[in-house]
Symmetry: C2
Subunit: 601 residues, 2 copies
């Protein structure tokens, strides 16, 4: 079997870099220790090896499709989803009282990373079911909780998020699906939703849609949007009855072909009942409370694909002979056997680039999950701090793996040469699959506006100050190790450079020139992400050095040196790119602002 991840890397990041033990000391997680967590991760790995990875290619070769009102998926999907649910992949992080396992979200992220690396077609189904159940648990009535959540945790029912409509992609203020109040307190729902992931399939008994709609007469824009539970089948005393929710079609896609994307109609025959979640007109607030977790999930999915692509291309590079090493006179000795391609410098550069991106991205995904756990369950007085750290890191956690992960996978494909483009090898599937992640849950452009336009500036820059303090703490720890000092200094310099960039940009915001302020937000995202990942790499470097000093523990010395070598690679081959981005952001030409004409032809 082809490797799709390195469990040592995951363990090293969880236990050594991110010090999971600190989380496990919190009262909520009192039942867990390192050993029980290890057993759980191994169980998910075993499940992924046996059930997920073997059907990954099949799911691509036989895409999910729409047939006569139904969505047809892989025949084993039902079995897989129920097994996943049994392993805690829906309710794992929920309260014991709600039928959950009270696992840290950090562990939830780790388990989903394993699952996604093995087969990125499956995590969406369980993840959205988890998200939908979570919204019900947080904001809905006890009646709704009892009627829906247990079936979702068991994997018998699926769940979705219904936001997008044909006329309103990223612009939720323009949705028109309408909820008409009924005498019994329920609502009649009427409207259409598109791009609904996991929207319908035959392997669950029911699908529970968490749907955004306007109650008739609600105010315009996002302040008039409410959240509803709208099941495909209504649970009644007589069992499940159809609720006038139909699948009008599906979207055939370039990748993730085992994961359905549907077009749903609600109330075509005026017989679709929805149940209000929480208060009217607060729907978007509720949805956004889940958004940090959902966006971390997107980053995690992209990182998982980059991990799988890296391991597939590494395996190829170690086995494929091709060409010969250069001798000192620049010639090659034809009497030598061919070299393995991993012996060519440029191939190693492509492999290190992949490793630096995916492991850096994984570390960030775990970092944000850690902050999420601390924000929700840490000591009361520290929760606000962690919430701010989570808020500022979320758009980066979603975007860096989606954008740079694509570059990583692209390099993985290139390692295979012509074979990388052929369907006989898996790299082309990863290349297609990962492309959606820069679009899911708010495009890169939107994440970048969120980062620069909201998160950097919010509360007078408080989140940024907290993040800088975290980085400074890592720099401080690195200064204990002589061979980390140069990298600590580089990170320090880049933090100063970031302050200079912001000092150049903020006056535009203060003068009310918001379009100008945000015109290069996507460039700023690329710049700031590089800084954040450099911090993560230094943090990994510190934990590797600490391990090396105390004996390698459960890791080999080669493993530890590999972490340090990849840290050096990131600082040497990626961090310098920040300089060029600074120059771009300091331009005064306003070339992308809308002036009298568009100048595009």
């Amino acid at each position: 079997m082809s490797a799709y991840l390195n469990m040592d890397t995951l363990r090293f990041q969880l236990f050594n870099t991110h010090k999971l033990e600190n989380l496990l000391e919190l009262p909520r997680f009192a039942d867990y220790d390192m050993e029980s967590i290890q057993i759980m991760l191994d169980a998910i790995k075993d499940f992924s090896d046996k059930e997920l990875y073997p059907v990954f290619r099949e799911m691509d070769e036989n895409p999910v499709h729409y047939d006569d009102g139904k969505i047809v998926t892989h025949p084993l999907l039902g079995k897989i989803l129920r097994q996943a649910a049994e392993l805690g992949l829906v309710g794992g992080t929920f309260d014991y009282d709600d039928g959950g396992l009270q696992l840290p979200s950090t562990i939830g992220t780790a388990t989903y990373f394993i699952m996604d690396a093995a087969n990125n077609n499956v995590a969406g189904y369980t993840g959205l079911t988890m998200g939908a159940a979570e919204l019900i648990l947080h904001f809905a009535s006890d009646e709704l909780k009892q009627a829906y959540v247990p079936h979702m945790i068991s994997g018998d029912w699926g769940g979705t998020m219904c936001l997008t409509e044909p006329q309103a992609g990223s612009s939720l203020s323009d949705i028109t699906t309408t909820a008409y109040p009924q005498a019994d307190g329920t609502y009649k729902i009427k409207g259409q939703k598109i791009f609904i992931s996991g929207g319908d399939h035959e392997h669950v008994e029911n699908t529970v849609h968490l749907l955004l709609a306007r109650i008739e007469g609600a105010p315009a824009g996002t302040k008039g949007i409410s959240l509803f539970v709208v099941p495909k089948h209504r649970p009644t005393e007589n069992g499940l009855v159809p609720n006038d929710v139909f699948t009008a079609g599906d979207f055939q896609k370039m990748g993730q072909k085992g994961y359905c994307t549907t077009h749903l109609t609600f109330g075509e025959t005026d017989n679709c009942t929805g149940f209000l979640v929480g208060e009217a007109n607060r729907g978007l607030n509720y949805m956004f409370l889940m958004m940090n977790g959902a966006r971390i999930g997107v980053g995690r999915g992209a990182v998982a694909i980059a991990s799988a692509a890296y391991h597939a291309s590494l395996q190829y590079a170690k086995e494929r002979p091709q060409g010969r090493r250069l001798q000192n006179d620049g010639s090659k000795d034809l009497n030598q056997e061919q070299s393995l391609i991993i012996e060519h410098a440029d191939v190693r550069r492509m492999l290190f680039l992949q490793k630096a991106i995916y492991e850096g991205g994984l570390s960030l995904v775990l970092q944000s999950s850690y902050y999420l756990d601390m924000a929700n369950h840490g000591p009361e007085e520290e929760r606000e701090k962690y919430k701010l750290l989570l808020d500022i890191l979320t758009p980066i956690t979603k975007t860096f793996p989606s954008e740079k992960g694509r570059e990583a996978v692209d390099n993985g494909l290139q390692v295979l040469g012509g074979y990388g483009f052929c369907s006989d090898f898996v790299l082309q599937q990863y290349y297609r699959d990962i492309r959606i992640f820069a679009i899911y849950e708010g495009t890169t452009g939107i994440q970048s506006l969120d980062l620069l336009g909201r998160k950097i500036t919010m509360r007078g820059g408080e989140a940024l100050q907290l993040l800088s303090a975290e980085m400074m703490a890592t720099i401080q720890a690195a200064m204990d190790h002589n061979d980390l000092k140069p990298y600590a200094a580089k990170l320090g310099d880049r933090i100063k450079q970031t302050q200079e960039v912001l000092a150049g940009l903020m006056p535009f915001a203060m003068r009310g020139e918001h379009e100008r302020f945000l015109a290069d937000a996507t460039i700023f995202m690329e710049f700031f992400s590089t800084l954040v990942i450099a911090w993560q790499w230094l943090k990994m470097g510190v934990s590797a050095k600490q391990l090396a000093l105390t004996g390698a523990g459960n890791y080999t010395e080669d493993f530890i040196e590999s972490v340090l070598h990849t840290m050096r690679f990131y600082f040497t081959y990626e961090v310098p790119k920040m300089s060029g981005l600074v120059d771009i952001m300091s331009n005064t030409e306003e070339l992308t602002l809308l002036k009298e004409k568009v100048w595009l032809s």
Copy 2:
């Protein structure tokens, strides 16, 4: 019909930037003038509109495939290939004496650009037939010429290049296909070839393979490789007879699904006859004389896809409403109609990036074609100079469009959001199609070794000096225009920076540390390509200003301003990235060199 290119852009670059009139003054091209060239380009555009673009999606949706020993392609392919041949797309650049039209290669490139932008599945069939016929014309006996070339120019027979073997991808020194001399001067061929583009299909009467093989007992390595004509069917007095060439299978691919990639066997029943081309053991030399043209062709194909993706995403951006512009207080007015997405700064940034890459790449492709024409048909005393300019630009002309074109198409897909990932829209097809170009005809890694390891250093750096002189001439011309001066200065600064980079790298080559010298060749390629494209943009800027001074001629003022605006964009958003690349190349850590261990896990 969706636009896939802008004919004004092509005309502007041909006639104004690259001064086609200078080429047409050469004796070889005496029969052509600007008007006849325009008529020819319009005829190809008309053919592309009517025959190529309408079947582009179909060819993807119903891929070429292997069925019982045969390759099944689109039913209209035969008609298309014959029409293309009639339009001169096989023999256009050949001598009148050989049945050609004696067109400049620059016009050959322009016509293929149009064809490829409309449908990149077709140009490979005609282009390889042209390349195979050209090899026969240059190096084979009159008997072979007469027997084969007329059928190829007419489009009745196809042609291929058979280089790659299973055990020897990029490493031609390791091919093992063998040619056994026969008493009558012919050879029996025995071996297998893979990845043979256009290798077999039912729409031509015969396929003529130009095949590399070793004559039994030939020296090892590239010095023992000979070139043979090996037809699928041997022409005899009694017509065509089978020649023991069989199709063992095809390669299913992520993109270019309308273009077959085959696995061929030669001489399985010892009955395959090959005809030696030119002298024994000179096969690779002959093949490499065609290589500049072939590599320009790869760059041209990639640029054409980037053009098509740009125009598709531009059209979408002009028609799709979504969200609203920011007001000065940072809020949005919900009572406004939704904006078109082209009004958002980040969308315009993505569109300008695409335009800057594809038009910059197209200009480079035409520049290299111009040098090719001058090297072959220019004044005798200048041919050597143009040959050197062609040699140094070829690896960049192949690589920039393939690498940055992919980034351009990626941005085009992103403009469409979720729709970009869906099969209902064409962007995902361009995203898949363009991925092979960084692999065709020598990967980016190999082109980069060629650029830094051979072309920069050859003849004591003479090619680089000539190229610098060309750039300086453009800078000089730009200094006549006040608003071009800042960009001319930037280009001058970057030329100096390039000299500094090389001054840092060359000592490694001189000391015989070749692996170290070339370790970051791919980074150097990215750096140097950016410089070359900046030069092309300044050149376009100069020609736009000249037009503006003399009245816009056949172009609108908006068109000219659009060229200048995109030039500014390239200098502002792309050229600054060179700074970071300099920092990378100046690193002293040798992280990708093979030391005692690989450090990859």
